[in-house]
Structure formats: structure tokens, C-alpha cells
């Protein structure tokens, strides 16, 4: 039992001042603005939006600024703020097939209808430091030391035509309006596990409103993973690949882009388009399952997250498939296949709260433990002394425990 303590107000006020000072760093260095974080640390903001389970890039940037870049602390701020807001309702389910694509790759098909679009990615960078970013502003191409150092050009200037690295966008035609989701291509051939809404298209379970029970259904699992810790899901996804869950998946598709989100307000009775959300979706294609009635098919793992967050979406889709073990009658021998383990430990705000509460004063509890261990030792000493007295005649019959 945790027994609260009182007092310490003056010290706590002083620590608030000190943390403000620590957060600001050297006052000779210009202060970073929330807009700068939003625009220039967008991937960190995406992580905070996901784990804070609230889409608002301004707030995510503010949270990162306020928490000195501590992502979990920032997610905590988002969660706390969310609880102060009324909920207007639930959106119309998103249609990711209408996504305005910024990036779309497939590891299963070379030639996809609509094409493969690399978009902005670090996948093909050399992971070498670009020191030009350290000293100068407006370095436009800053991923590869062999390219950077050029000054930013106004976008009207044409780079030399022989430069394969930079193609001006006005030479390119816009992407196709319709980019079919890759599993749907396999699905058309009947090779992919069907993904259909259950009878009546029921409202999803909301774990922010109702307590979770196990076994948990897929809607609960997907919601928990969407707000779960990226590192935890990455580790579990990795474990599945390494054999702790036996799966050999392919990335059917990763797509990143903007999707319109709609709400049907009661007072209007028609769908209102609220604007665009940036989302990342991953469709993982896994090996076969079949039954007496169904011929063998590929099986799916699905990941959908806020912002540009591929690692998270991919990890989620790996664990989503692993958690379907029960549905397919597979043995659930490994952590990634066990919904109770995954769902109870994926929430980093909860996990951090429970781990970090250990540093709060536990004086009374510890006093109790101290008294207990002293009593146990006292009793042991007394018992040993008693045994010593009675066993004095025949010395050491057996080895000591």
C-alpha cells in the first residue's frame, strides 16, 4: 500500500524553477519555437501524437518543448490534455484508399498499379553525418555529404539536366488518383485472407472508456497498439521475425500521405470534412492459412498510425498478425502472440507511471519492510541458537542449508 506524504512545497516550487532553467539551456542560445519543432522535428511530433493518442501537431510540438524532448513525458502531456476536452463524436471510418500519396512502397510487387513512390525517406541515405547542417542554415540537401554544401536554390532555378538526383517537380505528372491497396490486389485473386466488416459493422470498442477484458478482440488490440510504445512494439515485432512467433512476412505495402477525416454532426445530419490527417499504413503479407472450407491464403497484419511513422506502423502490423494466432488455431507460445501480455505492457504512459512511481517516497512501506526483515533475522538467530543448544552433542550431522 502506498502511504502519501505531505510537505516539501518550497522544494517543489524551487525544482519547478530549476527545471524551467534546465529546459531553457544556455540563455545565450536562441530559444526554439513550437513552430520550429512542428516543422523541423515532425517525426518526433508524430511519435508524440501516436503515443499521446491525440492528433494535433502544434500540441505535440509544445509537449516536446515543455518536456525537453522527452517523448514519453510529452505523450503524457497529450493524454492529460485530452481528458480535459469534450468528445464531439466518432469520425466516419477513414478510407485509406483515397489517401493523397506522398510515399508508397511494396516489397511484394515491382510493378504496382499506380507505381512505387519513394517519397521522403531515409532508407537510401548513407547514415553519414552531414556536418554542413551543423554550421549553416538553409542547407537544402542535407542527407548525403556528397550532395550537401550546395546552397538552397530558389525553386525556379533548374538544376543541371544530367543530375539524376534532383528532378524538378514541374516535369513530373501528378500521381494516379487511385492507388489500390496491395492486399486488395491479392484479394481479387482470392489469395489473401478476406478483410470484411463483421455483420452490422459494429461500433468499435473504446479502451479509453471501457475496461479491457481478455481475450481481446481485434479492434481492442489495434487501438492499444496504435497508442502503444513504438520501442515496445518494435521489439515484439523483431522477436516475431527472429522466431519467437514464427512469421515470415513481406511488406505488401507501406503508404504515407493525407486522408480526409469526416464527422457527421447530429445537428447537421450530413458528413462534414474536417480536414486532412497525415497517416502511415502498413499491410504485411504473411504465410498461409487454410481450412477444410477455405483454400490456403496469405494472412494479413495491419498497422495504421498518425503522421509519418513507418517503423511504428510496420511493428504494429507484425504484432497484429502474431496476435491473430488464436483465430488461426496456432499455438500462442511467445510474448508477441499473447494479447494480455502485449496489451497490458504496450502503453508507455502507464508503464512509465508504474515504473517511475518507485522513486516517490515510500517511507512507510519501507519502514514496514525494515521491521519485517529485522523480525525474520531475529527469529532466525533465535532458532539457530536453539538448534545449536539441542544439537551440541553430535556435531554437524548434515551440510548446512
Amino acid at each position: 500500500m502506498y502511504v502519501a506524504v505531505k510537505g516539501g512545497e518550497a522544494a517543489i516550487l524551487a525544482t519547478h524553477e530549476l527545471v524551467a532553467e534546465a529546459r531553457r539551456g544556455d540563455p545565450a542560445i536562441p530559444e526554439i519555437s513550437v513552430a520550429q519543432i512542428r516543422e523541423q522535428q515532425a517525426l518526433a511530433c508524430a511519435r508524440v501524437m501516436n503515443e499521446g493518442s491525440l492528433y494535433d501537431s502544434d500540441l505535440a510540438a509544445l509537449a516536446l518543448k515543455q518536456s525537453q524532448g522527452d517523448v514519453i513525458e510529452a505523450a503524457f502531456l497529450m493524454r492529460a490534455y485530452r481528458t480535459t476536452l469534450p468528445r464531439f463524436g466518432s469520425s466516419v471510418p477513414l478510407d485509406t484508399a483515397t489517401m493523397s500519396i506522398r510515399r508508397r512502397v511494396s516489397a511484394t510487387y515491382k510493378d504496382l498499379p499506380g507505381g512505387q513512390v519513394l517519397g521522403p525517406t531515409y532508407d537510401y541515405t548513407h547514415r553519414l553525418f552531414d556536418f554542413a547542417l551543423m554550421d549553416s542554415e538553409n542547407v537544402r540537401v542535407g542527407l548525403d555529404p556528397t550532395i550537401s554544401g550546395r546552397e538552397a536554390r530558389p525553386s525556379t532555378t533548374h538544376p543541371s539536366s544530367g543530375d539524376a538526383r534532383i528532378k524538378p517537380e514541374h516535369h513530373a505528372a501528378p500521381l494516379d488518383a487511385h492507388m489500390p491497396r496491395v492486399p486488395d490486389i491479392l484479394g481479387a485473386e482470392g489469395l489473401m485472407e478476406a478483410e470484411e466488416a463483421p455483420e452490422g459493422d459494429p461500433r468499435p470498442f473504446d479502451l479509453t472508456r471501457d475496461p479491457v477484458s481478455f481475450p481481446a478482440d481485434r479492434d481492442v488490440r489495434l487501438q492499444a497498439m496504435a497508442r502503444g510504445d513504438e520501442g515496445f512494439l518494435l521489439g515484439l515485432g523483431y522477436s516475431v521475425q527472429r522466431g519467437f512467433g514464427g512469421s515470415h512476412p513481406f511488406v505488401g505495402e507501406v503508404r504515407v500521405g493525407e486522408v480526409a477525416v469526416e464527422l457527421v454532426p447530429e445537428e447537421l445530419g450530413f458528413a462534414v470534412d474536417l480536414g486532412d490527417l497525415t497517416l502511415t499504413e502498413c499491410q504485411m503479407v504473411n504465410q498461409f492459412q487454410g481450412s477444410k472450407d477455405i483454400a490456403p491464403q496469405f494472412t494479413r497484419g495491419y498497422g495504421l498510425v498518425f503522421g509519418h511513422a513507418e517503423r511504428k506502423a510496420m511493428s504494429m502490423s507484425l504484432v497484429d498478425r502474431a496476435l491473430k494466432a488464436r483465430d488461426f488455431g496456432e499455438a500462442a507460445d511467445y510474448p508477441a502472440q499473447q494479447d494480455e501480455f502485449v496489451l497490458y505492457h504496450s502503453d508507455n504512459v502507464e508503464a512509465a507511471g508504474f515504473v517511475e512511481h518507485l522513486k516517490l517516497p515510500h517511507y512507510v512501506d519501507f519502514q514496514g519492510e525494515l521491521e519485517l526483515i529485522r523480525r525474520i533475522r531475529r527469529e532466525r538467530d533465535e532458532r539457530l541458537a536453539g538448534e545449536q543448544d539441542s544439537k551440541e552433542p553430535d556435531a554437524m550431522p548434515e551440510a548446512a542449508e
Binding site: 478510407d95 479492434d219 447537421l268
Partner: protein, 150 residues
């Protein structure tokens, strides 16, 4: 990419202009509206959340992805016409201005200056989407497979 307003299948003109207003900045709407007409605020700008739903696999069972901030506002012009605004984010001033534009657009004939203005705004948004799409298209890739041991 989409030439139309995103997700627009048989949308009413009002749905289309509300979508345009949701994506517009506060200053764009301010410029569009000009001097605000006489009105009363029926529902003051209020920020809340909307739970965003996805579907497993893109088309399957619904699930809750997470919430998003949304701000809404309802106004009434002196002639009784009501205007609504619902948009992502937390901009209260924008919500009120957008609700006013919504009310006025319902009142005005199709060829009015305000209708022209919102149409131009929609065009700008489409152009921006097309620009983003063309930028993405510059990274379109053709991988080819290498046959080993041939």
C-alpha cells in the same frame, strides 16, 4: 492525385465549401469574408475531440485509431440563417469566421463574389495538392530484379 476535394463523391456544394474552409487558414478566411456581418454566436467556438476510426486492413472491422482535436462554432445572421464550422485544430477565431462564411454562402446566389472567392480558395488547395503529388512523383521508382547465377 485527386483533382477533386478529397473523398468527394457526390458531395453537396455546402459540403464542398465546408471542406475548403476546414483546410483554409484563419487569414485566408478573414480575407474572404471581409467585414463580418451582424450575427449572434449560438454556440461559441469550442475545442473538443473526435475519435478517428480506421478499419482493420483498410476495409475490415472498425477500430479506434486515436482522437484528434476539432473546433466547432455555430452562428446566426440577423436574417436567421445559421452557419456552422467544424475543422481540425484549435483555432477559435477561424471557427467563428468560417461559420459566418458558411451562413453567408447559403444565403447568396451562386455567382456572388463570396462564392467566387471560395471557389478560388478551393482551386488553390487543389493546386497545392497537385504540387505535392508532383513532388512525390519525382521519386517514382522502377526497381528491376537481378537474376543471380545466370
Amino acid at each position: 492525385m485527386n483533382d477533386k476535394t478529397p473523398g468527394s463523391t457526390e458531395k453537396t456544394p455546402r459540403q464542398i465549401w465546408m471542406a475548403t474552409l476546414a483546410r483554409a487558414s484563419r487569414s485566408e478566411i478573414e480575407t474572404l469574408l471581409g467585414a463580418p456581418p451582424a450575427h449572434e454566436v449560438l454556440k461559441a467556438p469550442e475545442t473538443g475531440t473526435v475519435m478517428v476510426e480506421g478499419r482493420a486492413g483498410g476495409a475490415g472491422r472498425r477500430f479506434n485509431l486515436g482522437e484528434t482535436t476539432v473546433t466547432r462554432c455555430v452562428v446566426r445572421l440577423s436574417n436567421g440563417r445559421m452557419g456552422f464550422s467544424y475543422a481540425l485544430g484549435r483555432d477559435h477565431a477561424k471557427a467563428r469566421l468560417a461559420a459566418l462564411v458558411d451562413a453567408q454562402l447559403q444565403d447568396e446566389a451562386e455567382g456572388s463574389a463570396l462564392h467566387g472567392g471560395i471557389a478560388r480558395l478551393a482551386e488553390h488547395q487543389t493546386a497545392a495538392r497537385q504540387r505535392a503529388s508532383r513532388k512525390a512523383a519525382t521519386t517514382k521508382v522502377d526497381f528491376f530484379t537481378l537474376v543471380r547465377g545466370a
